[in-house]
Symmetry: C2
Subunit: 337 residues, 2 copies
């Protein structure tokens, strides 16, 4: 199996990305990697680890796409960037099955949509991050930004793609799918939601658990939430923002009084665990579901361990034949001609 | 000034509502109240406080609308409910200027839209809750559920109505308005957002601060966020859900080890303050902006103090002539004929 690793664009790139690739090679004997980035730098990191170039290809790509680049411009103009070279390699080589990147999300999502084919029958690839719930499990959010505008049948496809994904990667049997809505009753929301509710209820490839209000996201009652990319983006970012802001506030308050600081000493380990619990990196990368090739996006702040997790995730998705399973499920759900 | 108080439907109704009304009467000498609910019960509470019926009208309405009632059914069938009687009184009596309720949100929003007129020029009333930000201030979210589907000019009206409201009630000068979007650049989002961005940028009645991503809601950089009712609802509920779930988790973790429990003893006051900080009740009720009459919705769990806050808020909105200011602002923003 050959996985491309975009070695630029993350906060800890290229070091974390290259070192993670080396660890992945050691872990999976049937794996080869293609590293895109500054060739000299990449080689230096590999040498520093005392490793050779066995099962490693390096494709020189000195330019980097940042969050400040407008995605469509970046795709058009930054052809020598590590991400665009990686996308081109993925597109043009049948034996390269997956891509792992910690670079700019917008550019990765846009270039997947514009440059990479879709699984047969899939109308739109969707971006699906996974976040921890309060019962020690996780919940996937599909779509969380790739498709601001959708139709009911596209939402159904998100449910199918997401279900197969949660089964394959997080080993959840019959993932409970919630439809993000502004109330739980079947008739709630706009026409899009009402029609989607009907389609989801009738489909046999998924386990539909009804409408889900945003406040229930972390409850552990749902394994996957389907939504248009606009409200999905709002959902993910507000959970993230609230958790971060709240922990920041608590931290600030602790430092405001000696007594609190003293108390916090006893709870140091607990707060560290909370922080670790909320660290998205621990739950793997976000994936572009529905694309013909496997694409995993690690958080920009990913360290070596987190990038390795993303590579493992991509490896697993390819190994298990997720795309084939998804295609099969989508095919079964298509209206008979 | 005459304010109607719906005395049923809250967790602490009718006691909290009636007692709050009595406190409001003591506070504002020019205020009269109309109480809807079970007459015998209401009278009993007033007597228990040793008060007479001066400046108090009681309208008997024994039935209650709950969160389980489908709003449109409730409006049609529960005509004897305290909320529907209150809405009818508000509609039919020119001297009754405001309504405060702690009852079912859906029914109150729907009945405002169906039964109460709009301020001249306003296309859609919007539901606007206010939540605390991390800099000790507040941020309003307009709309957060009344209008799942909107147009760019309706979003502009939300910005105008919300701005006048944040000025009048929270005394914020030139409230900074953010447009909820999935990125900060002007061209982000769908057609609705791009067109709204343009309208908001050009309008002179508001202080537009650009697109706002959901994670910035609590940052303190925005005083008002405008959005369609669908994503606004997702936003408010996910902030609420995340904060509650996170505090619950921390509480659970504290109880998991003796050492943590000990540490928490030193921090008891701090945690109480966090809880108080996150208590929506402390920031006033949510309002239906754009309605011809003033309508304030207190949280279902409102205690006497919280209901009093809602009455004060309604009193202030009427006193300051918010609806007139809003009409004026809307008029100035209308395209010239």
């Amino acid at each position: 199996m050959k996985i491309i690793i975009d070695c630029l664009g993350g906060d800890n790139s290229p070091k974390a990305n290259v070192e993670a690739a080396l660890l992945a090679l050691r872990k999976h004997s049937d794996l080869s990697v293609v590293l895109t980035g500054d060739e000299t730098e990449i080689k230096k990191i590999i040498e520093a680890r005392g490793m050779g170039l066995d099962r490693i290809e390096i494709v020189h790509a000195p330019d980097v796409i940042t969050g400040d680049d407008k995605p469509t411009d970046a795709i058009r103009l930054k052809k020598d960037s590590s991400m665009m070279k990686a996308i081109r390699l993925l597109r043009e080589n049948d034996d390269m099955e997956a891509l792992v990147s910690t670079g700019a999300t917008g550019a990765l999502v846009a270039s997947t949509i514009l440059r990479i084919g879709r699984i047969e029958g899939v109308r739109r690839p969707a971006f699906c991050p996974v976040i921890p719930n309060m019962k020690g499990g996780v919940v996937g959010i599909c779509d969380s930004g790739a498709n601001p505008m959708v139709t009911p049948d596209i939402l159904l496809q998100f449910a199918i793609m997401g279900s197969r994904y949660m089964e394959a990667v997080y080993k959840i049997k019959n993932p409970r799918v919630g439809l993000l809505n502004i109330g739980t009753e079947a008739e709630k929301g706009d026409d899009l939601r009402r029609e989607a509710y009907k389609l989801l209820s009738e489909n046999k490839e998924i386990c539909f658990a009804g409408n889900m209000e945003a406040r229930e996201l972390l409850s552990g009652d749902y394994d996957l939430v389907v939504c248009d990319g606009f409200s999905g983006n709002v959902l993910v970012k507000s959970v993230e923002g609230t958790a971060l802001q709240l922990m920041k506030k608590i931290k600030g308050d602790i430092y405001s009084k000696k007594k609190y600081k003293l108390g916090a000493l006893f709870m140091k380990k607990m707060f560290e665990e909370e922080k670790e619990f909320m660290n998205y990196q621990n739950y793997g990368g976000s994936v572009m579901l529905g694309a013909e090739k496997t694409i995993v996006k690690g958080h920009g702040s990913s360290d070596r361990k987190a990038v390795l997790k993303c590579i493992d995730q991509a490896y697993r998705m390819v190994k298990i034949g997720l795309n084939k399973k998804t295609a099969e499920s989508i095919r079964k759900s298509m209206p008979e001609e």
